[in-house]
Amino acid sequence: MRFSNEKIVGKSVLPDEAIPLLEGEGRFINDISFSGMYHVAFLRSQYAHARLVSVDTEAARAMPGVIKVMTGAELAGKVEPFRSMPNRFSGGESVQHWLAVDKVRFCGEAICAVVAEDRATAEDAVDLIEVDYDPLPVVTKAREGEKDDAPRIHEECANNHLIKREYERGEVDEAFANAHAVVERSFHIGRKQAMCLEGRGCVAAFRQGSFKLSVWMSHQLPYVVRHYLAKHLKLTETDVRVIAAQTGGGFGQKASIYPEEFLCSYLALQLRRPIKWVEDRLENMVASTHARENDVELKIAFDKDGHILALDSDIWADVGAYSTYLWSAGMEPLQIAGLMPGPYKVPAMRYVTRGVATNKTPVGPYRAVGRPTASTSLELLLDDAARQLGMDPVELRKRNLITADLMPYRNANNLLHDHVNYEACLDLSAAKANYQKLREEQESAAPNGRLRGIGVACFAELTGLGTSTAVGPGTLLQPGRDAVTLRLETSGALTIAAALPSQGQRIATAMCQVAADELGMKLEDVNCVTNDTAMAPYGFGTFASRTAVFGSGAVIKAAQELRERLLALGAHLLETPKEELGIVDSAIQTLDRTKSISLANLAEQSFFSAKHIPDELNQGFEITSFYDPKFGSFAAGAHTVVVDVDPETGDVEIVRYVAVEDVGRVINPAVVEGQIIGGIAQGIGEALLEELIYDEEGQPRTVTLADYLVPSSMEIPKIELHHANTPSGAIGGFKGCGEGSIIGAVGAIACAINDALSRKGGDLQAFPATPERVLRALNVEMRDA
């Protein structure tokens, strides 16, 4: 039997991880230095598409303080370039050299690396390199780029399709032929980026400790980096240690493999010196992966009661110049298409989706990949349908949600919905927002001629994907299992080691909470390291709202085994049957609490005075467990947003924001709240502000934070957050919570804006809803400046 401690899971435990950050001792990548360290700066392409006629590095090489200037030509053949493609579907391949060879394909692509004694010298030397470009015609839009006569970005990639997939399930044509109503909609979302406050960066060191190569990196996937570093640099994995340094935001942008860090690692081995490179903001805007930029043509067939009969979509994702390494160009286009049905019953569906190469920065994973586009286009169409069918938008959604009594429910996209309650989220959101009253007051409530709009969006977010549910079908990386090691130290403290680094999600704190509960330990006796391949067992890392599910599942499995070992030795030392013992407050005790031994005492005896302990009871107190949940866990939510649109200025003000979320069993409520509100804030940016703009030459026009607008404290309203949590089917009942809220935010805000605009006959099809777009949607005459 087991004594129950007071549960720590479910409490807003203050995270010790925050302490160094509050004291200015976070040690981010740029804070790590070694003596003798060299610095790298990159020369980057000024053209979107050009042949490199010549690269003259002589003056740079001659500059005092410059150690080496590396060109693509010199590097070619020495390291394996990146090739990443979704091999299950049609589409061409892109080959990405670490430094451009012969051709550049986007503004910002690295051409040369300068190694110097300090960063300023390296940057000065970059300015001395002379490149002769022969400009080539450019592709800047996906739908133009796939035409037969469009310039080709990669020779072997016809129609610039890095991927194209067609899918059909159910009787789609029949459903459209027999439909009561067919509603169609076009949707465009602009290009954006994660905009982590800290850029990427690395320090690569030769022969630090017992490793040939140690790399500190601002990254989400240290083990995956280690595997591929070893592969590309022809080392064995035990030669390489990767440490995810304290990381200043990730959001998916730090989940890909990029040329710069791999090149620095190569240079560290070649020059036998520590090498540092830290991205500045200008580099980050052009050299770190972008996100979104999708076009959707969506068509849905409804019966007379507003039930969805079939869904047909045509999707273009502008994936940039290269198929992002490991994840591939398939991420956005496949997930937009595949996840289009969201939480709704869709009996039949068909899609054609493509990832089209353009002369722009490659697109990679970013918070909720594909889902905001899928969800927002669908939610906007549902509102259109409600208007057309004369139904309330909430009622239309209720009729189509997959309800709990139907679960497990397999949708037309082949995903199985279970352990989630979409209807409860919608009901609670409508109730908390007082939706009926909002509608009644809609006409009179907005001040000074403003247009009031109400938007309600439901979403499903597949989190914690196991081996049977691929994150990106056909890609090189098919994550699905992770391990943790629990080790009782000889002091009696517990160390949890996992390769699940945190970019602010307080993962270590969460893992400690779970382990403390499972083992009956005091929280202060439990520690967790999450970022170091030299200390942690294999794991895929932190992305795709997976860590709470995988980490907790593996911790619980390992804790159960460790607990048995501890009780067996406790029984021997206390001369009491194991069945009469439990663990409370880091001590093994009898039921009546007359006999007790602290874990500290037990641990010390087991190691330092093991003479009288039978071998079979002393097999070490270190357990590694793997966990694979096989399937994903659906998290969900329903957001209700009220906006006022100013028809004179095009300004959109969010006047009310109610979010209801189902994130399963919650480990640390305050941390979860921070994740959800943070996701909503990025969704507000996506819906209203953030857009990376390119001109027709492929020149990026938004390369500083003065041009690329992210929300400040003034743009984010008070978020009213409520929970309708249903435990998942994974061990512990946990779900992921990092991404879902951005889906609901973009959808609900977009719906609210169009609800407002519809009052004046306006309709917005392209987002973000900048003042200019809003005014154009209202047919306001604008003189171009």
Partner: protein, 163 residues
């Protein structure tokens, strides 16, 4: 023009005399010369506010300030917020207790900006807090917990004043 210049300044209570390149930013001086890496660089063009430090009691962007401009000044960075006995400043406590940070990269700038606000206005409204913080970007939190933390710090600091 000379490439280097000698400056004298006080940082976190300690006086330094250093020769600095005239083109060096205050941020690089603090981080590279004094090894005070708690001040972070987020954009290096004065927009994000991560590099904010206190200079003669006013918040400044250390990325836009030259080290030579800091000659004869008194500077406080995040490393200097604790008291001599090691106690946290109320704003540090409040950010911790209210989960006012996630990745923590922007935190140094927010702490310095918030301290300046509370010194000028010990009893701000929520809107005044939002406005005062509007020059600092946080990408993780959605600002909600930060605003709560600053409001709580204001309350606690007023309570302490009364005692």
């Amino acid at each position: 023009m000379a490439r280097d210049q000698t400056i004298t300044c006080k940082v976190n209570g300690r006086t330094y005399e250093k020769s600095v390149p005239v083109r060096q930013s205050l941020a690089d001086f603090l981080r590279d010369t004094l090894s005070l890496t708690g001040t972070h660089l987020g954009c290096e063009h004065g927009v994000c506010g991560a590099c904010t430090v206190s200079l003669n009691g006013r918040s400044v962007r250390s990325c836009l300030t030259l080290a030579v401009q800091a000659d004869e000044t008194d500077i406080v960075t995040i490393e200097g917020l604790r008291s001599e006995s090691g106690e946290w400043h109320q704003i540090q406590k409040s950010f911790h207790e209210n989960f006012g940070l996630q990745c923590g990269y922007c935190t140094p700038g927010f702490l310095i900006t918030a301290i300046e606000l509370l010194e000028e206005n010990p009893d701000p409204t929520e809107n005044e807090v939002r406005e005062a913080l509007s020059g600092n970007i946080c990408r993780c939190s959605g600002y909600s917990a930060i605003v709560t933390a600053v409001m709580a710090a204001a309350r606690d600091m007023r309570e302490l004043q009364k005692k």
